[in-house]
């Protein structure tokens, strides 16, 4: 019995040590490897051209509650279609555009709005050059890549994919909400002259 208890204790200690050795520091927190559970936090890096495009599409396709995007560009018909598909399966999809003049984003904003997706142009004093996606308030992708086709296929870009880590997600959502509060939505279409309101 003593021998059995000793073996169990040794096994427990060994398992704990392996788990600790596999932990990754992220700021003040500790992220455990994804292999432990599909719900365990995980971090990966991807590049474009390469896996970055697939990672972005995968995250969007797997969203089942919400998608928040801040980007300088989404001139990407395939990704726009994925967002409309997400919307049609009940996901709350919201896209905020940043960067140079709004006319450069206007067509895509109109396309998304047409599909019932919230899309607006963020107006700030600073140059806004952030790109991120948050899904289901837990998963994030951020990095240099915007979501235009050229960014995925021609440029050299880097992204980090952080899954099941709500702390990071909430921080990005807070930033998104602050920008959205002052964003410029396209105004309602003008009434005909003489019409009320």
């Amino acid at each position: 019995m003593k021998r059995l208890l000793s073996l169990l204790a040794t096994g427990f200690l060994a398992t704990t040590q392996v788990a600790m050795a596999n932990e990754t520091e992220l700021g003040d927190s500790v992220v455990r490897p994804a292999a432990a559970s599909p719900f365990a936090p995980s971090i990966r890096v991807a590049f474009s051209p390469g896996e970055a495009e697939a990672e972005v599409f995968d995250l969007v396709r797997k969203a089942n509650k919400s998608i928040r995007i801040l980007t300088t560009s989404l001139v990407n018909r395939d990704l726009a279609d994925e967002l409309l598909l997400a919307k049609s399966r009940g996901v709350d999809v919201r896209v905020l555009f940043s960067g140079a003049s709004k006319d450069q984003k206007s067509f895509v904003i109109a396309f998304l709005k047409n599909g019932g997706v919230f899309a607006a142009y963020a107006t700030t004093r600073q140059t806004l050059n952030s790109n991120f996606i948050v899904t289901d308030e837990a998963n994030t992708i951020t990095g240099s890549v915007d979501y235009a086709s050229t960014s995925f296929r021609r440029n050299h870009e880097t992204i980090m994919i952080v899954k099941n880590y709500p702390d990071a997600a909430f921080k990005l959502i807070s930033a998104w909400d602050a920008l959205a509060a002052e964003a410029e939505e396209f105004a309602p279409v003008r009434q005909k002259q003489g019409a009320p309101g």
């Binding site: 001139v75 990407n76 018909r77 726009a80 003049s101 006319d103 450069q104 984003k105 206007s106 067509f107 895509v108 109109a110 396309f111 709005k113 047409n114 019932g116 235009a148 086709s149 050229t150 410029e184 939505e185 396209f186 105004a187 309602p188 279409v189 003008r190 009434q191 005909k192 309101g197």
Partner: protein, 75 residues
């Protein structure tokens, strides 16, 4: 028979709709604004075949929406 739409035709319809959105292009940049919009449409639809799949519906929606107060393009 499916009509053939060009980028310029879609851009034209879009520009007219865009004018109803907070004034559209800045008047002093009208030509450059138009070029940027055409460029954006060309990148969004890398080939005209794909543009043509959407163009009729898109132009109809843009044209209709100009007369509506919702600001949302409707099919």
């Amino acid at each position: 028979m499916t009509p053939i739409f060009s980028y310029e035709m879609v851009a034209e319809a879009f520009m007219r709709w865009f004018e109803t959105q907070n004034g559209g292009c800045v008047p002093s940049e009208d030509e450059r604004c138009r070029e940027r919009i055409i460029s954006q449409i060309k990148r969004f639809y890398p080939n005209e075949e794909r543009l043509n799949q959407d163009a009729y519906q898109l132009i109809t929606a843009l044209t209709k929406s100009r007369d509506q107060s919702s600001g949302r393009i409707v099919h």
